[in-house]
Amino acid sequence: MNIKELTKGIFKENPVFVIVLGLCPVLGVSTQVSNAIGMSAGVLFVLLFSNIIISALRNIIPDSIHIPAYIVVIASLVRITEMLMHAFAPAVNAALGVYLPLIVVNCIILGRAEAFASKNTVMDSALDAIGMSIGFALGLTLIALIREVLGAGTITLFALGSFNGVIEVPWLVDNPFRVMSLAPGALLLMGFLKAFFDWKAMRKAG
């Protein structure tokens, strides 16, 4: 067990900004902060279990059929998550809508199975999954926060008691840069953030 496996995913090997994995959900669900949080929770659940199962089976699954085997495991996990959410957390299921089944094609899941879980112990794989999920959640939430504040002038969280879940940002709520909520805004912002993280990494490297 190596605690580094947990922390590396958060910044040094952040899946969104450094490895650039799983961009479709990052660009797709980042219109609202609440969607980003829900998606991150789904990814954490699926990634944790897929990494554990695949790591446990790593000596059983032969190399030549590892991709189909991983896909069966991942697809089943996603479907199980979807059914459980539909039955026991219908509000979250309704909020995530079509993005929940799309976790199955999220390359972070298959990427981590291939690059990490297939070669490491169950414990390390679980830590890797948690670290990568936190890194993914941070990246996704950061993009969603910037896009929603600029694009709609609001921050949508979850409704709790008397709080309806929506924080309005003064001025921006009346004058939103609507392009930020649309697809081009997501691509532009991703470009700027990637450039920023690359610049930081270059300065650090000297």
């Binding site: 032969p62 069966v72 089943s76 079509v98």
Partner: protein
């Protein structure tokens, strides 16, 4: 050769285990989901009934948009209809229930199920989204084009024109259908 058979067997075992896990989860969740959907349907019917008594459901086959009709009763008289409608949204089929007067005017609209994009087409679930359709269909036409909306409403559907048009087309077909029923 034996190697290939062994591989096939391993893959088969993984598939069989996955299928079993899915079957068990489905057996647990399916009844819960069914109860929820029935509750949602009844709640939606009640929400659009506009105070009328809800009659029996009659399924309609062979109409591109209308899936069922429920007569709204005001004592003995038919006060209007609830129509089950389907529209082709951006993410697939959308199920809508809407109530109409006997002259085809839209009273209330509710979105029952859909797979629209969060942040864009999914806004159709928001309160107030259906306001732009309600009250149209008889003296005013149903707004099926963005140019028929006020500038505020048009801005609100920007980025989700497909969703807006799909709901409008379904509602318009429902209005035509309600007129054809002609108070019967």
């Amino acid at each position: 050769m034996t190697k290939h058979i062994r591989f096939a067997f391993i893959l088969l075992a993984i598939c069989a285990l996955s299928a079993a896990a899915l079957a068990i989860t489905n057996a647990i969740t399916a009844p819960v989901i069914e109860i929820q959907e029935e509750e949602n349907r009844l709640a939606a019917l009640k929400a659009v009934s506009s105070g009328f008594e809800i009659g029996d459901q009659e399924d309609i086959a062979g109409n591109a948009h209308v899936t069922f009709v429920i007569r709204l009763l005001d004592g003995e008289r038919i006060g209007g209809y609830i129509l089950g409608l389907k529209g082709a949204g951006y993410g697939g089929e959308m199920a809508i229930v809407a109530s109409y007067t006997t002259d085809g005017e839209i009273l209330r609209v509710q979105l029952l199920s859909h797979s629209e994009t969060p942040g864009l087409g999914k806004k159709a679930e928001n309160e107030g989204y259906m306001d732009k359709y309600e009250g149209t269909g008889a003296s005013e036409p149903v707004p099926t084009n963005k140019s028929m909306l006020s500038s505020g409403d048009a801005a609100a559907v920007s980025g989700s024109t497909v969703t807006f048009t799909a709901i409008a087309k379904a509602l318009e077909a429902g209005s035509v259908y309600a007129k054809e029923l002609g108070g019967k």
